[in-house]
């Protein structure tokens, strides 16, 4: 290829991608800079400079700490639950069962349901006075529960698992189907039982999928807004006051954009750090074929 032609191709390509680059710069990268800039300001118009004041205030604020702990609890519960349940269901659907395509589809429906529908419907179902869940438990001879007052965070984790497990299962299923049959056969010939084949063949070869799924679950958990906003409104007594809800209220109810920006930037740092750790851990566990 001549140099002139190559330059022409390069020009064409740059022409094709420039709008995208401008878009991503303006709507993704610039906002990060803006958040940092706003986080040094205070006041309803975010026009008084306070330096790192918002950050030191956020780090010392017990409400922020509590909200962060609640978020970590929620995220841990959702991540562990999604991996365990998603993998278990994927293993089951990976068997030669009739109607597995139908079940795979069925379990995906909650994932495609808007968080607003999920939140409002579960809020109704879990209600202690007129919710259907306690009535169903009663007809099975089980005691009624005060879901949203006695174990609100656990309940929200359950609702999030209801909506996300199908998605995780489909990804695990694709991962399982990507493991070459010969590994199972080789282990079988070596006399490995079902548990050992799972432990020493399936699980290590599935490690990249598990890492991906857990990264997605962690990011989804740390970003959760809809469920606590719609079901518990952060309560009772802040028990489900997840970080993004806290940021949202600081920004849009209290009009404290500077403080809210500082909190959201801190949360971004947490997400980046956790993702990096997860990727590292995944690298170590990865088995090269």
């Amino acid at each position: 290829m001549t140099g002139g032609l190559q330059r022409r191709y390069a020009r064409t390509a740059l022409l094709f991608i420039t709008p995208a680059l401008v878009f991503f710069a303006l709507f993704f990268y610039l906002p990060i800079g803006n958040v940092l800039a706003t986080s040094t300001m205070t006041g309803v118009r975010a026009d008084q400079f306070v330096g790192l004041g918002n950050f030191s205030r956020a780090l010392a604020d017990p409400a922020v700490r509590h909200s962060f702990l609640v978020t970590v609890g929620f995220t841990l519960g959702v991540t562990v639950g999604a991996v365990v349940l998603g993998l278990a269901l994927a293993l089951l659907l990976n068997q030669n069962l009739r109607g597995r395509v139908l079940f795979r589809a069925l379990l995906l429906v909650p994932y495609l349901t808007s968080v607003v529908v999920v939140g409002l419907m579960w809020r109704n179902i879990l209600n202690p006075n007129f919710g259907i869940l306690n009535r169903l438990l009663g007809s099975l001879g089980l005691p009624a529960q005060n879901w949203l007052t006695e174990s609100p965070l656990l309940t929200l984790i359950g609702v999030q698992l209801w909506s996300q497990t199908g998605y995780v299962m489909v990804i695990f299923l694709a991962g399982l189907q990507g493991i070459p049959q010969m590994f199972h056969e080789a282990a079988l010939i070596d006399g490995a039982g079902a548990w050992r084949r799972f432990r020493h063949v399936t699980l290590p070869l599935l490690a990249p999928t598990t890492v991906f799924v857990s990264i997605m679950a962690v990011i989804g958990g740390l970003q959760m807004f809809g469920l606590p906003y719609l079901i518990t409104e952060g309560g009772p007594a802040g028990a489900t006051n997840l970080s993004i809800l806290h940021v949202y209220r600081a920004a849009f109810d209290e009009r404290n954009f500077g403080y809210a920006s500082a909190m959201s930037f801190l949360l971004l740092l947490v997400i980046v750090a956790v993702t990096v750790v997860q990727l590292r851990a995944g690298k170590k566990k990865e088995v090269t074929l």
């Binding site: 429906v109 808007s114 109704n124 199908g166």
Partner: protein
């Protein structure tokens, strides 16, 4: 699998299937109940007499038609934009050599790792300054392109043989024509996945429309739904009817293109 194991397997699947579907079926029941039925101490599984008029009441009590129109405009425009804009960028990254290509590609993909909440406040401030709060452009612009679509298209374009492109060029086709006549036809399945995913995602989107709109006329369905659910008192029968209306388009799309959804999810798992 032996028979007992098989039976146990089916039992688990049926139980899980019931748990997955029950809240949605119950939502339909709730949407057909009277207000009294929704509030009574012993909730009913199915109303004594289905109240179909609940579905027309939501249109009387709130501008529900306007909500639907807004959602269609916003989700439709964004999906169309993704399908029109993402492939060209994916094509450039798949088939061209240019300076800083790797760096720029990483910069584009990196946007997938930027969570929405970090963009929320600055976007709100920007839109306020532009006077774009409570407008369609305010709802649409921040989502016009996405890295996932670009990545998806690039993955589908890479395996297309270069010789095919060169042959078209030798025949005198312009670059845009090569793109339109050689690349695009090969991208149909990818674009179907992209359009479906984008539409469902945007149709369901809650946080940005909640932040970026404040008048009834500009609310989308998910935000509008919360109107029946304000303060202490929630009109559950109407909320449920609205929720069914919000859920139906997704359900219909999923029913007819289940394979594309599964494929799309599997593809996200491969990135």
């Amino acid at each position: 699998m032996r028979l007992p194991a098989r039976l146990a397997g089916y039992t688990v699947l049926v139980a899980v299937g019931l748990v997955a579907l029950f809240p949605l079926l119950y939502m339909v029941s709730l949407s057909l109940q009277t207000q009294a039925e929704t509030m009574q101490g012993t909730p009913v599984l199915w109303p004594a007499e289905p109240q179909w008029q609940n579905y027309s009441t939501i249109f009387d009590k709130a501008p529900f038609g306007q909500f639907i129109l807004n959602s269609l405009i916003v989700a439709g425009t964004i999906s169309l934009a993704h399908v029109l804009l993402d492939p060209l960028v994916g094509y450039a990254f798949a088939k061209f050599r240019f300076p800083f290509k790797e760096t720029l590609f990483v910069a584009v993909l990196g946007t997938m790792m930027i969570p929405f909440f970090i963009r929320m406040i600055p976007l709100y401030v920007t839109m306020a300054n532009l006077g774009w709060l409570d407008t369609y452009q305010g709802l649409i612009t921040p989502f016009l392109m996405d890295a996932f679509g670009i990545f998806l298209c690039r993955q589908f374009i890479q395996p297309i043989p270069d010789d095919l492109l060169h042959a078209a060029r030798i025949d005198g086709a312009s670059e845009l024509r090569v793109y339109a006549q050689v690349i695009l036809p090969q991208l149909k399945p990818a674009l179907a996945v992209l359009a479906l995913f984008t539409f469902v995602h945007q149709w369901n989107e809650f946080l940005w429309p909640l932040v970026a709109t404040s008048t009834q006329e500009m609310r989308t369905v998910p935000v509008g739904l919360t109107l029946f659910a304000q303060e202490e008192f929630i009109l559950w029968h109407l909320t449920a009817a609205g929720a069914v209306v919000l859920f139906i388009p997704t359900a219909v799309l999923f029913l007819f293109s289940q394979r594309y959804f599964v494929r799309g999810i599997t593809l996200t798992g491969l990135k």
